[in-house]
């Protein structure tokens, strides 16, 4: 690896680390912006991006070369397979092959909640999670008694077509095929990460942790049912969140590895819940999860999807320097007033602006946001949601990168 690439990688890592440690780095750390646009920029369909490993890697390398940032922008090529991660949480070596469902994996497994371009969707659509009710309210006690066994025996067969009958040869063949397919994917990824290293990006990635109530809402009961459960079976829901906490932590540890010391925590139900419900059902086990991850040597990067304004103060219950709060709709300026010096704040770029605005306006927009957020450090510039659509004007993207280059210096 060329010397300057190694040096560049070290600088980028230090920049991000300084922000997370609430200091002022040399420049504002910028995660870069991308998503479905990566495939469009390389002239391939989303289907090809999701199903052809070589084309996917080439598209990512081309995009990252033209739009360098502090983290490689690799787009979204699949969905979490969180029930499977829990069901096999006692088999850490399986984590890399069962934790995510990309296009080819879905062809093998047939996961009920997955929709992929070129399959259930048109070839330029993006992969989507469409969950439904996989667990009935009567099954709360079983979930509470043994979440891992329950997820394996009851839920997995309901969400994975290949596991409809766990005893059958189809289920066992699917596992073997999955490993063989993931090996192919792994080979392509290794090649891509080698090229990324040459472009000055240190290898690594993010582990994942799931807020216990989100796990129940997204993966088991479906959100509308879960919300009604809060009123009808409050004690069972609470007991369930405590029961699933331990295995969910085990999953996060399974994902830990060299260069993978941060757990990404995507929140979904936060925006749905009133403060009362949030504080009674959602926050206690999420908070305990973040604290336990810290004990396990992992920082947390919580993605507060939607509007988190009503629950912002609860973040102060965490120890200073606990990690990063990544905001989608909550105004980062408002968050900074409350959390400066306690929590590293991430976000700031409204994807809607990048899609609809003009290069000149975007230059002004970035200048203004950086002017307000950079002082005092503890800030990472990122898009409020991780996916720029295919038709996002390239000149707008370039304008953002140029503006960050211009105004990003401390």
């Amino acid at each position: 690896m060329a010397v300057d690439a190694k040096q560049l990688a070290a600088e980028r890592a230090a920049r991000l680390k300084a922000a997370v440690e609430l200091k002022e780095p040399d420049r504002v750390p910028f995660t870069g912006i991308g998503g479905d646009v990566i495939a469009a920029y390389a002239g391939i369909t989303s289907y090809e991006f999701n199903f052809d490993y070589e084309k996917q890697c080439q598209a990512i390398i081309k995009y990252v070369k033209d739009f360098p940032s502090d983290q490689p922008v690799i787009g979204m090529t699949g969905l979490g397979n969180h029930v499977a991660s829990m069901a096999f949480s006692d088999y850490p070596d399986l984590y890399p092959i069962i934790s995510r469902v990309d296009g080819p994996t879905n062809d093998i497994l047939g996961v009920d909640y997955c929709r992929f371009p070129g399959r259930e969707l048109d070839e330029n659509s993006s992969p989507q999670f469409i969950g439904r009710e996989y667990m009935s309210a009567e099954e709360y006690d079983e979930l509470i008694a043994d979440p891992v066994k329950f997820c394996f025996e009851k839920i997995l067969p309901r969400i994975v077509r290949a596991f409809r009958d766990m005893k059958a040869p189809e289920a066992h063949a699917a596992m073997a095929r999955l490993a063989l397919e993931k090996a192919k994917a792994g080979a392509a990824m290794r090649d891509m990460f080698r090229q990324l290293q040459e472009l000055g990006y240190a290898p690594g990635g993010l582990s994942v942790f799931f807020a216990p109530l989100d796990f129940i809402g997204d993966q088991l009961r479906d959100i509308p049912n879960l919300i009604k459960d809060l009123r009808r079976y409050p004690d069972k829901v609470k007991a369930a969140t405590e029961a699933v906490l331990e295995p969910l932590l085990k999953v996060s540890v399974n994902a830990k590895g060299p260069g993978v010391e941060t757990a990404m925590i995507p929140l979904h139900l936060n925006e749905y819940l009133s403060p009362a419900l949030y504080n009674e059902f959602y926050w206690p086990t999420l908070k305990e999860g973040i604290l336990r991850l810290a004990e396990l040597g992992m920082k947390s990067q919580v993605f507060f999807e939607g509007r988190h304004d009503a629950h912002l103060e609860t973040i102060l219950e965490l120890p200073a320097g606990w990690g990063t709060a990544y905001f989608e709709k909550t105004d980062v300026r408002k968050a900074k007033k409350l959390l400066q010096g306690h929590t590293c704040i991430m976000g700031g770029i409204d994807v809607g602006m990048v899609i609809s605005s003009t290069p000149a306006k975007l230059d002004e927009y970035i200048k203004e946001i950086l002017g307000e957020m950079m002082p005092g450090g503890g800030f990472i510039l990122a898009p409020n949601i991780g996916n720029l659509p295919r038709e996002t004007p390239i000149e707008n993207i370039r304008a953002v990168y140029e503006a960050v280059e211009k105004y990003g210096k401390y």
Binding site: Y91, K167, A176, A179
Partner: protein
């Protein structure tokens, strides 16, 4: 990259083998070469390393083939027959063949009841061994006959694979995933070995795939040989019906190997030596014969490795059309076989491993000279060891003596 000379050498070797198979006289006698445990010893590694470390295995094979070149490559990772698993997954063409040969790392994942590996169940210098056992009760013949695939999957697999004992449990599913991981790593290693062999002038295309006499499936993997021999007397009709049912599944399995590019199917024969001609003709040969003919219809040749004594059944080969394939003999004297099968069946073997172990270079030179003198005329002969495994401390000068003698006397 494969140099032009090596490409030419590969073509010559392939043509030499092909001519013998087509019962003609090639330029030189095709020689399969000697190998086995000695390949590891020659490279200074243990049997354990040879079975479990793909890189060391490859280096040992390359070192052996450079010093002892022959017409087909030797060495490389071997394994034990795991036919019950291939049958259980025969409806998954991309997998069935992958599960047939269980090597060291695969057995670490599966923990097969029949497997003994150096550095695991054996000391690190022992060779791997298949120890059959009784996995099926006589009362289960009807179930086997009704659906050999379902029976092999639901009843036999859990009994012979330690980590698949509880099908549908997290362990059994995790085991299959881990098997996939090991196979994926090995696929990459196989490609590397293939490339190395090509660079040493060995033909790569048109390989061989697996096949198995239906009755040997029952003997080796279901009832165990002694019990099957008794079953033949106590439940003759059930044994026959089982062989018929199994035939369909095994032909389907072998043709999957054809789809992957193989042009030849290799049968190891085990029960042949146990059976009187009468029992052989009534129970063993009919389904084996139909198997060979069905493969022939699909353009595939068969190679039968007749272990032990096959003298009493030599004439049955004549029921096959001339040029059907290769008969390799372990104990049957190839000269005796030639008298019966010349011009009809390509004969393989001839070198008694005992002589290579205990003879002197001079005796070996004479032995090979006489053997080639008797067997080469008329072609249709492939020289090779009667058993594929030379022990670790076979005197290397004896091995060299064999190769030199073949070089000297092998020209047509």
């Amino acid at each position: 990259m494969v140099s032009p000379e090596m490409q030419k050498l590969a073509q010559e070797r392939a043509a030499r083998m092909q001519a013998a198979i087509e019962l003609k006289e090639p330029d030189r006698v095709p020689f399969t070469g000697l190998g086995g445990d000695i390949v590891a010893a020659y490279a200074g590694i243990t049997a354990y390393e040879f079975e479990f470390d793909f890189e060391k295995n490859r280096q040992a094979a390359i070192k052996w083939l450079k010093d002892f070149p022959a017409d087909s490559p030797v060495g490389g990772i071997g394994g034990l027959d795991n036919l019950a698993m291939s049958v259980a997954f025969v409806d998954f063409p991309d997998l069935a063949n992958q599960f047939f040969m269980v090597n060291g790392p695969m057995n670490d994942v599966l923990n097969m009841k029949f497997a003994r590996f150096p550095g695991r169940q054996l000391d690190e210098y022992s060779s791997r061994q298949f120890i059959g056992g009784k996995n099926m009760e006589p009362e289960e013949y009807d179930e086997l006959i009704a659906d050999p695939v379902k029976f092999s999957y639901e009843k036999i697999l859990p009994r012979i694979a330690g980590n698949l004992a509880d099908l549908g449990s997290p362990t059994s599913l995790a085991t299959m995933a881990r098997l996939g991981m090991v196979k994926a790593q090995q696929a990459a290693e196989m490609r590397k070995t293939g490339a190395a062999l090509a660079e040493l002038g060995y033909p790569t295309g048109g390989g061989s795939t697996f096949a198995f006499a239906p009755l040997d499936y029952i003997g080796d993997h279901l009832r165990d040989l002694p019990n099957l021999v008794l079953d033949i007397r106590r439940y003759p009709d059930k044994v026959k019906a089982a062989a018929e049912a199994i035939l369909e599944v095994l032909v389907k399995w072998t043709l999957q190997g054809k789809a992957a590019g193989a042009v030849q199917a290799g049968f190891p024969l085990h029960l042949n030596e146990y059976l009187s001609p009468k029992l052989y003709r009534e129970f063993y040969w009919p389904t084996l014969k139909e198997y060979i003919l069905r493969l022939r219809e699909e353009g595939m040749r068969s190679r039968l490795f007749c272990e032990g004594w096959h003298d009493a059944h030599l004439d049955t080969f004549l029921e096959l059309p001339a040029g059907w394939g290769i008969a390799a003999f372990e104990k049957t004297d190839v000269r005796k076989a030639k008298k019966v099968l010349a011009g009809h069946t390509c004969i393989s073997g001839g070198i008694d491993v005992g002589v290579v172990i205990s003879g002197t270079p001079a005796e070996i030179d004479e032995y090979i000279k006489r053997l080639l003198g008797d067997m080469m005329p008329g072609g249709g002969f492939i020289l090779g060891p009667n058993v594929g495994n030379l022990p670790r401390n076979t005197p290397i000068e004896n091995v060299a003596a064999v190769y030199e003698a073949v070089e000297k006397y092998g020209k047509y």
